[in-house]
C-alpha cells in the first residue's frame, strides 16, 4: 500500500473532508488511477468522476466540488470501494460531500436532497418509512408533472396490496425521538 500521495498541506477542504467522514483520512492515498470512475454505473453522467473530485479536493476547489453533480449520481453500489486499490471509502466520501452540500445549500439541479429530507422527516415522525406519504409529498412539492406518470404504477401497486394508505408508527416513538434529538445536539461524528 502506498502512503500519502495527495498533497495534504495546501488544502483546508481536504482536512474538512477527513474530519467529516469516518475513515476519510484514506483519501490522501489516492493514486489517481481512475478505477473508481471506470467502475461507476453512472460515471458517464458525472461532471467529474470520483478520481477528479479527489484531485479537486486536494486543490481546494471547494465551491466547484460542492456544486458538482457527482455525489448525487452516486447510487451507493460500492463497486468503486470494492475495486479501489487503496481502500478509500469512496461511497462514504460521497455521503460526506452530500452532507456538506446540503448543510450549506450549495447543491444545484437535483431533487435528491428533497427526497432525503422527506424520507427522514417521516422516519422521525413515525419510526418507519411510509412509501405513499413519501411519494406524494416528494412528487407534489418537487416534481408535480412527473407525478402524473407515476399514477398507473401506483395503482397497480395498490391493487396488489403493495401500497399502504396509512403509516405504521412504532410503539416507543418517544424513545427514538429522544435518541435523534441527542444525536442532533451532539452534532456530527467528529470527536
Amino acid at each position: 500500500m502506498v502512503g500519502t500521495t495527495l498533497e495534504l498541506r495546501g488544502s483546508p477542504f481536504l482536512h474538512e473532508i477527513i474530519q467529516e467522514v469516518p475513515g476519510g483520512e484514506r483519501i490522501v492515498r489516492c493514486l489517481q488511477c481512475g478505477t473508481c470512475g471506470g467502475s461507476c454505473p453512472n460515471g458517464a453522467d458525472m461532471q467529474y468522476t470520483p478520481r477528479t473530485i479527489f484531485a479537486m479536493i486536494a486543490a481546494n476547489e471547494r465551491e466547484k466540488v460542492l456544486k458538482a453533480n457527482t455525489m448525487w449520481f452516486c447510487v451507493s453500489c460500492y463497486f468503486c470501494v470494492s475495486r479501489c486499490p487503496q481502500k478509500i471509502p469512496i461511497t462514504d466520501i460521497m455521503y460526506g460531500l452530500k452532507r456538506i452540500a446540503i448543510r450549506e445549500r450549495a447543491y444545484q439541479d437535483t431533487d435528491a436532497p428533497a427526497l432525503a429530507k422527506t424520507f427522514t422527516d417521516l422516519l422521525d415522525k413515525y419510526g418507519r418509512s411510509f412509501e405513499l406519504g413519501l411519494a406524494s409529498r416528494y412528487y407534489l412539492f418537487n416534481r408535480p408533472v412527473a407525478m402524473l406518470k407515476m399514477g398507473p404504477m401506483g395503482l397497480s401497486m395498490f391493487t396488489r396490496g403493495r401500497m399502504s394508505l396509512v403509516p405504521t408508527k412504532i410503539k416507543n416513538i418517544e424513545q427514538l425521538q429522544s435518541i435523534i434529538r441527542k444525536a442532533r445536539e451532539l452534532g456530527g461524528t467528529r470527536p
Binding site: S76, D111, F119, G161, I179, A183, R184, P191
Partner: protein
C-alpha cells in the same frame, strides 16, 4: 437455530411477498426468526446523506433492541443488512464514535456493545448454516427446466461480504442448483438496479434497469430472482415504464429467491406471496414445472 429478525419497512407492505416467503421457508427449514420488538426504519441511504451521527444512532437502536440471549440478526433487505453491518463495523473500528453513538442511545435508555450482534444476510444463513444436504432433503418439486437469473444487486455483496465474491457472487446460483433449477449465466448479476435514482433521475435509472432486463433476456432466463426489495421494485414495477421509454417489450417476472425456494419445497403459492408481482410469474412457473402438480 434462533436468530433475531429485522424485516425492515419494505417487507411490511411493498415487498410483503418477501416477508411471507422468508417466514414460510424459515419455518420449514427449522430456522426460528424472532422479530426485534418495535424495530425502526434503518434510514436507507437517506439519513447518511444528511447527518451521519443520527443515521448511526437510528440504526444502532435496532442492534440495541436485539434480545440479550440472541447473538445474530438476520435482515433480508440489502439496505437494512448493509446499514446494520456498517454501524456495527464503524463502532468496532472507531471506539470514539461508538461512545458517541452510545451517548445518543443513552437518551433512550439503551446501550449497544460493538460486535455483540453478528449481522447476517438471509442468503448466507440458508446457504451456510442450513447447507446443501438439508436443502436437497426438503425438495418435493424440483425446478428442473426452469431457467433462472440470480440477481444479487449491490449492498449484500459489497463492501462487507467476506464470504462470497463481490462482483461475481455464487451462493444464490449454488442454492438454486441444489433445488434443481437451471441457473443461466448472468454477467451483470451484481450490477446496480439504480436504487433511488428512479425517484431522482429517470433516464439514468431506466438505463440501469434496461441493462439487467436485456442481459437476462439474452441468456433466455424465465425469470429473475432478487434478494433486495429495491431491486425487485425497480425491475418489476418500473418494467412497463422502461419498455415505453426505450420501445422495448420485456415481460420478465421478477420474484424473491425465497418465493422460488418455497415452490421447490412444495409450499402453498399464496402463502409465498405470488400474485403481488406486477409481471405475473405464475404462467411461466405452471408452464415449466410439471410433476408433481403445483399446489395453488
Amino acid at each position: 437455530m434462533k436468530y433475531a429478525y429485522y424485516p425492515g419497512c419494505s417487507l411490511e407492505c411493498s415487498s410483503a411477498a418477501y416477508d411471507m416467503s422468508v417466514r414460510a421457508v424459515a419455518d420449514l427449514l427449522g430456522i426460528e426468526l424472532r422479530e426485534i420488538d418495535d424495530w425502526n426504519c434503518c434510514g436507507a441511504t437517506e439519513y447518511f446523506s444528511q447527518d451521519e451521527l443520527t443515521a448511526c444512532a437510528v440504526i444502532a437502536r435496532n442492534l440495541a433492541l436485539v434480545e440479550p440471549q440472541l447473538d445474530q440478526v438476520v435482515a433480508p433487505c440489502a439496505a437494512c443488512y448493509l446499514n446494520l453491518k456498517k454501524v456495527d463495523n464503524l463502532m468496532q473500528e472507531n471506539p470514539a464514535l461508538a461512545d458517541k453513538i452510545n451517548q445518543c442511545l443513552a437518551a433512550g435508555r439503551l446501550h449497544y456493545d460493538a460486535g455483540r450482534v453478528r449481522v447476517r444476510h438471509l442468503l448466507d444463513l440458508i446457504h451456510t448454516d442450513i447447507g446443501e444436504e438439508a436443502i436437497k432433503d426438503k425438495v418435493v418439486q424440483p425446478l428442473t427446466g426452469l431457467r433462472v437469473a440470480c440477481y444479487y444487486g449491490c449492498q449484500i455483496v459489497r463492501p462487507y461480504n467476506g464470504s462470497d465474491n463481490p462482483e461475481q457472487p455464487v451462493k444464490l446460483d449454488q442454492l438454486m442448483t441444489w433445488v434443481g433449477a437451471e441457473v443461466v449465466d448472468f454477467p451483470v448479476k451484481a450490477h446496480c438496479c439504480g436504487g433511488h435514482m428512479t425517484q431522482i433521475s429517470e433516464p439514468q435509472a431506466f438505463e440501469l434497469i434496461r441493462r439487467l432486463l436485456h442481459n437476462a433476456q439474452e441468456y433466455r432466463a424465465d425469470l429473475i430472482l432478487c434478494m433486495c426489495p429495491m431491486c425487485q421494485l425497480n425491475l418489476d414495477a418500473y418494467q412497463n415504464r422502461v419498455n415505453s421509454f426505450f420501445g422495448t417489450n420485456y415481460q420478465i417476472p421478477i420474484i424473491f429467491f425465497t418465493q422460488l425456494l418455497g415452490v421447490a419445497f412444495g409450499l402453498d403459492w399464496k402463502k409465498l406471496g405470488f400474485g403481488k408481482e406486477i409481471v405475473a410469474a405464475e404462467p411461466v412457473l405452471r408452464k415449466k414445472l410439471t410433476a408433481p402438480a403445483a399446489t395453488a
